[in-house]
């Protein structure tokens, strides 16, 4: 279903608040924001029941602009706050928006434990391979050999695959999309938000200002269309060799399993303990 942009804009943005936004022209964050709102709209979630939590960085400023219960937390800790909100009021739909450094460097431990715990939270990780807001230093997803403000001679470390890390750590639903494939991203986010348990959507995004410029990757349009050329559907990628996948990445649903959800299990314990008492 194609949703009228005007409906989304009118319904979900905080018009009387702090616009213009902080993002650079051409930044992928705007596309992720659009997808997030279309997914929420598509699922028909009441605004009062949605809590969007974010950490620190460019993508995490998203919470400022959207009209839900919003919580802009400390660096790397979005999932810890989200866990408290979800456990205290399980009926709320809790979504955490983070950047790659936010979620997997300073917040790496919280990320793997939220996945292991299988708590019903949707984590959206905008992966632009750099610390954008703080000046373009290398992040856990900066490719080997890349240049950043803290790896001017070329990066000597290897990068994480966020989505595969989430699968291994035990998330119920894991998907990867890009800001080029916006229509698919809408769908992936809808699926992730409807999933019981911990769901993760890694969104490959562009930071042409920090990462792109230093690595001669071109402007926003070049970087975004580059994702079109490098992305391979999961099913197709499974049949390709490591050599064929060199420089490419898979997109789509990597993992979708059903297993006990800690938030629901605890509700059962709570009701049993309450009965035990009376």
């Amino acid at each position: 279903m194609v949703v009228e942009t005007e409906v989304i804009r009118r319904e979900y943005l905080r018009h009387d608040k702090k616009f213009p936004h902080v993002w650079c022209p051409g930044c992928g964050n705007g596309i992720v924001l659009g997808s997030l709102l279309r997914a929420i709209h598509g699922l028909g979630l009441p605004k009062d029941d949605v809590v969007v939590v974010s950490g620190i960085g460019c993508s995490s400023r998203m919470t400022t602009y959207i009209d839900f219960n919003t919580l802009h937390t400390t660096h790397g800790r979005a999932l810890t706050f989200a866990t408290g909100v979800k456990l205290a009021k399980p009926r709320l739909k809790v979504i955490a928006v983070m950047g790659d450094g936010d979620a997997t460097a300073i917040g790496g431990n919280h990320f793997i434990h939220a996945a292991r715990r299988n708590i019903s939270i949707t984590a959206i990780i905008v992966n632009n391979s750099t610390y954008g807001m703080t000046g373009g230093q290398y992040s856990p997803t900066t490719p080997y050999g890349s240049r950043s403000t803290t790896s001017v001679y070329g990066h000597v470390e290897h990068d994480f695959s966020i989505a595969e890390l989430a699968v291994t750590a035990g998330a119920s639903f894991v998907a990867r999309g890009t800001v080029y494939h916006a229509a698919q991203l809408d769908k992936l986010l809808e699926e992730a938000m409807s999933k019981r348990g911990f769901s993760v959507v890694e969104v490959i995004s562009n930071c042409h200002v920090q990462h792109g410029r230093r690595n001669k990757l071109g402007d926003a349009v070049t970087m975004i269309t580059g994702f079109r050329d490098r992305a391979v559907p999961v099913a197709k990628a499974a049949k390709m060799t490591a050599e064929e996948m060199q420089g490419k990445f898979s997109i789509g649903v990597l993992c979708d399993v059903d297993k006990p959800v800690s938030t629901e299990e605890y509700e059962r314990i709570r009701s049993e303990a309450c009965q035990l008492k009376s």
């Binding site: 809590v51 706050f81 408290g84």
Partner: protein, 381 residues
């Protein structure tokens, strides 16, 4: 693990009494990470919270625990965490977040010897100034110290009430001796416990300003999911909760944070006087040391010395008025502490009358005995 029916005489250790106090005060969420000597608080709450419809979670670390209790409090549930020195160090950043976002919560720090891993099973009072200034920036905070098992119940209730009333995190400083000492206490029945809840907004959602000043200086607080959609951020924010860099808005916001605590001074300052009416020498102490000090002044009285004890329960904001009165009244004040003089420094700071202040410190992981304090009293008499 002892469980207690309220209104009955029970044998409890300090950590257990903290749990009963928290439940009585309405705490329904706890997130923590095990650490000696605070672990019993987690263990007992994991049993008791689900029975009262609450939630217990053991997080992956102390940073996560602090984040989770802030999240839970924003969702409208009274929340707490408990830790000891090393864990308390890790909580500091999110503690600052709770200060700037005015999220009520209680953080129990059962002090042990430090720094670093220090002396895990030994007593200390080394975290007093960290409780006040551990997180960055100028911010007010309330720090309370417990000295007995019955304190652990009643002061925990007070901690929650002050936290809810002033929308400020409250640090409850316990120590290894208070935490693990078992004493016989009668816990009050629930109807005898005064419970304060945060004030929810009564205006229609479109009029709600989550950080608006009022005559209390404490904004009404809406819980997530109740129709009052608002933004919470650790950035300095305007009265609508959105980041601001306007100098006027920054200053008026930060000053309000301080002023709301200033307005509540008389209620927040809790001190106890023991034999102070005619005292010529006083001991100023807090936590487990005040127990030894009470014994010492009684022994001094038997020696014919007019000694008294000013016990500090509120450590911060510093109970200047009570300390000032004691210093004016006495020719000397002895300040025994299980650190190198962290509160003595504060007492010296407010000493207007030039009263002689004698520090007595131990940092070897052992308690200060009544005899040690008595010796100091005899020395100045």
């Amino acid at each position: 693990m002892a469980s207690a029916e309220q209104g009955q005489r029970v044998l409890l250790q300090g950590n257990e009494a903290v749990v009963h106090g928290a439940i009585a005060a309405g705490c329904r969420f706890f997130a923590g990470y095990p650490i000696t000597p605070a672990s019993e608080i987690s263990e007992l709450l994991s049993v008791m919270l689900p029975k009262v419809g609450g939630t217990f979670i053991q997080m992956e670390d102390e940073i996560a625990s602090m984040g989770a209790i802030i999240g839970a409090s924003l969702a409208g549930v009274k929340s707490m965490t408990a830790t000891s020195g090393p864990g308390f160090s890790l909580m500091q950043e999110n503690l600052g977040y709770a200060c700037i976002t005015e999220v009520p919560c209680v953080v129990v720090n059962v002090m042990r010897g430090g720094p670093s891993t220090g002396l895990p099973t030994n007593v200390s009072q080394g975290d007093v100034l960290m409780a006040r200034w551990g997180t960055h920036g100028d911010h007010p905070i309330i720090v309370l110290a417990v000295s007995s098992v019955s304190d652990c119940f009643s002061i925990t209730v007070r901690a929650f009430n002050l936290s809810e009333k002033y929308r400020v995190p409250v640090i409850l400083l316990s120590d290894e001796v208070v935490a693990h000492t078992r004493e016989s206490v009668v816990l009050p029945s629930q109807d005898k416990v005064r419970v304060v809840d945060r004030i929810a907004p009564s205006v229609p959602p479109q009029w709600y300003k989550p950080y608006a000043d009022n005559n209390r200086g404490v904004p009404d607080m809406a819980a997530f999911g109740e129709g009052y959609r608002h933004h919470v951020t650790g950035l300095v924010h305007d009265e609508r909760g959105f980041p601001t860099q306007q100098p006027k808005e920054i200053e008026s916001f930060l000053m309000r944070l301080h002023d709301k605590i200033t307005k509540g001074f008389s209620e927040i300052m809790i001190t106890k006087n023991h034999l102070m009416e005619d005292a010529e020498v006083c001991v100023i102490a807090y936590g487990c040391v005040s127990r030894a000090a009470l014994m010492a002044i009684k022994m001094a009285r038997q020696h014919g010395i007019k000694a008294g004890l000013l016990q500090l329960v509120t450590l911060f904001p510093f109970p200047r008025k009570a300390v000032d009165a004691a210093l004016r009244q006495c020719k000397a004040a002895i300040v025994p502490e299980l650190n190198l003089g962290q509160m003595a420094r504060e007492i010296n700071r407010v000493n207007q009358t030039g009263t002689r202040i004698i520090k007595h410190n131990r940092i070897d992981g052992q308690m200060i005995t009544p005899n040690e304090i008595l010796k100091q009293i005899l020395g100045v008499s």
